[in-house]
């Protein structure tokens, strides 16, 4: 067909940045595996990954560092993807996964569980339930009204977030001092809470498979609801799909690592500055770049002032803010 050549042009134009991002992701994972209390040389790392090498290194890499690195990668990927979707849903480049108050609900529930002295697993479970409660409240409030607009959804979410914020401050104020560090780490986002990496990775891959066929439709939705409808998009069902999907991704991410900030807002933005706004490219690129950023940030978080660990959310912001400002100043 005559389409083939143009088709190829647009595909290769998209594939190159994705290949670079995939390479960066692998590199970030390798760094995460090699660095820590005991440094591991590249050749030894390769040996361990191939099933040989030192037995101590085997345990260190395969049982301790690999699950955490993968969990960090998956969490970052989910947050960046959720951010990209939320920005399209709300037609607001300033939206992030937490803008609709979801992390607030998760945080309140998690802090309550911590206050009750619950185990790590229970805290994560509570966070997930809290996130779902928040989603349902925002969904119910915004859905119940007649005239539904992204602005209305955004306002509902922002006000919910403010309410959760007040509850969080209240909980922190009345909590015993010895529990505060754990709570603050959770609020800032901390991979030490992550269990098995497979839920986040699985959800990340599954959600990418769901949104990729929607890519071109999302490009049209980014031009506004009316324009999208005029071009044949069933706007309302698409918007609710986006809302529920982005919320679910965020809930899984928050359950894994607390509310890690910055990734969901800035990663899609940085990519748009470089790659334009074709969601067929931005969505998979967000997944890879978000994962890479959080993997690197978590490696720094556990090595920078070792043996003490920093909350990873601090690092994502410290790494991301200057690089974002740099990209912004260089863009047109």
């Amino acid at each position: 067909m005559a389409d083939a050549s143009a088709d190829r042009v647009s595909r290769t134009r998209g594939l190159r940045p994705l290949a670079w991002l995939a390479l960066a992701a692998l590199l970030a994972l390798a760094i995460a595996l090699a660095l820590g209390s005991v440094g591991i040389a590249p050749d030894e790392l390769v040996a361990v990954l191939l099933g040989g090498g030192d037995a101590l290194y085997q345990t260190l890499v395969l049982e301790l560092r690999l699950p955490r690195a993968l969990a960090a990668f998956g969490t970052g990927a989910l947050l960046a993807l959720a951010g990209a979707l939320m920005q399209i849903l709300l037609r607001n480049p300033l939206a992030d996964p937490y803008v609709l108050g979801l992390s607030g609900g998760a945080s309140v529930a998690a802090l309550l569980a911590m206050l009750a002295g619950a185990s790590m697993a229970l805290v994560s479970g509570a966070a997930f339930v809290g996130a779902l409660v928040s989603i349902l409240i925002v969904f119910g409030l915004a859905h119940g009204t007649g005239s539904w607009t992204p602005t209305r959804l955004l306002l509902t979410g922002v006000v919910m977030a403010a309410g959760w914020g007040a509850l969080i401050s209240f909980l922190l104020a009345v909590s015993p001092v010895e529990r505060l560090p754990g709570m603050l780490y959770w609020l800032m986002g901390d991979m030490a809470y992550a269990g098995s990496p497979w839920p986040v990775l699985g959800v990340a891959i599954a959600s990418l498979l769901v949104v990729m066929p929607l890519g071109r439709t999302l490009n049209v939705l980014a031009r506004g609801g009316l324009q999208a409808a005029a071009l044949g998009v069933a706007v309302r069902p698409l918007e609710w799909t986006l809302f529920l999907l982005a919320s679910l991704l965020t809930a899984v991410a928050v359950t894994t690592a607390g509310s890690v900030g910055f990734v969901g807002l800035m990663v899609p933005h940085m990519l748009r500055l470089r790659l334009g706004n074709d969601q067929r490219l931005i969505l998979p690129a967000s997944l890879l770049a978000g994962g890479t950023l959080l993997t690197l940030a978590d490696t720094l978080a556990r090595t920078l002032i070792a043996p003490q660990q920093l909350p990873v959310g601090v690092i994502t912001a410290l790494l991301g803010v200057p690089s974002f400002l740099y990209l912004l100043s260089r863009s047109r």
Binding site: A2, R223, L226, G232
Partner: protein, 262 residues
């Protein structure tokens, strides 16, 4: 069923009352827009021109009555199917995200491409031809944010030309345009009508309406309306009543020209 279907595809308003909150129903509209016709919608600010356009495009539910395309109510057509046959240029644009002129023209092909397919060479060629038609080829790679108001308006028209629907709705298509491009756009719309499209446009310029429209619909702020062939509607007294503005009329090149009195 098939026997009662009209022979030519038309866009029809049947007993249509557009929904403007707080306004009495006014006069229901019975419009039949046929291929080749160029309808102009005139009325003062707030008369409901944009609401009517959105209602005719199926983007807004009417208060009562219905809009039919090819004999079928819009509410029974799939959005995608509708978008292949009817398109609209909006008065306002939402350029919240970066996009180039070429990408923006290309979204006109969206209703024709299956979800799993990419834009092919034919789609790109159509967008390119539309950009060329609206003098936008030199701007093809520019970001929308860098365009002037008139250039942005032409991009919207290029998107609709790429979409190439049977029915064209244009909400103030000459907004922001310089004199030359006003005429160029009216020529484009007339050319589409000659090729068998039905065209409806909201206009504020009586003289463009007098020169380019075959039919006119006058919308009054209280919901009153009248419509018909352009010649019969261009009565100075009616137009003065429509806008609440005294007019001077002159004949230039065989067509009436209306100038507001000071």
């Amino acid at each position: 069923m098939a026997i009662s279907e009209p022979q030519i595809e038309t866009l029809e308003a049947r007993e249509l009352v557009i929904d403007i909150p707080g306004r009495p129903a006014g006069r229901p509209l019975y419009l039949r827009i046929a291929p080749g016709e160029r309808w102009g919608v005139l009325g003062p600010n707030g008369a409901g021109k944009t609401t009517l356009m959105h209602t005719l495009a199926g983007l807004r539910a009417p208060r009562s009555g219905e809009v039919r395309l090819g004999g079928k109510p819009l509410s029974r057509l799939k959005r995608r199917e509708l978008a292949r046959r009817l398109g609209i240029v909006f008065q306002t644009h939402h350029d919240d995200f970066p996009a180039t002129v070429r990408e923006t023209a290309l979204i006109g092909r969206h209703p024709f491409i299956a979800p799993w397919q990419q834009e092919g060479a034919e789609d790109i060629a159509r967008a390119q031809a539309a950009l060329e038609r609206l003098d936008l080829t030199p701007l093809a790679e520019r970001e929308l944010a860098t365009l002037s108001g008139g250039e942005r308006q032409r991009v919207s028209l290029a998107t609709l030309l790429t979409q190439a629907p049977r029915f064209w709705l244009a909400d103030e298509p000459t907004n922001h345009l310089d004199l030359h491009h006003q005429v160029a756009v009216m020529e484009l719309l007339a050319e589409q009508a000659d090729q068998g499209c039905g065209v409806v446009m909201c206009l504020h310029d009586l003289n463009l309406a007098a020169r380019w429209c075959s039919h006119l619909l006058l919308l009054y702020p209280d919901g009153e309306a009248c419509w018909g062939a352009a010649d019969s509607m261009l009565v100075p007294a009616a137009l003065e009543g429509l806008y609440g503005q005294a007019l001077t009329t002159a004949m230039v090149d065989g067509a009436p020209v209306f100038v507001p009195k000071r």
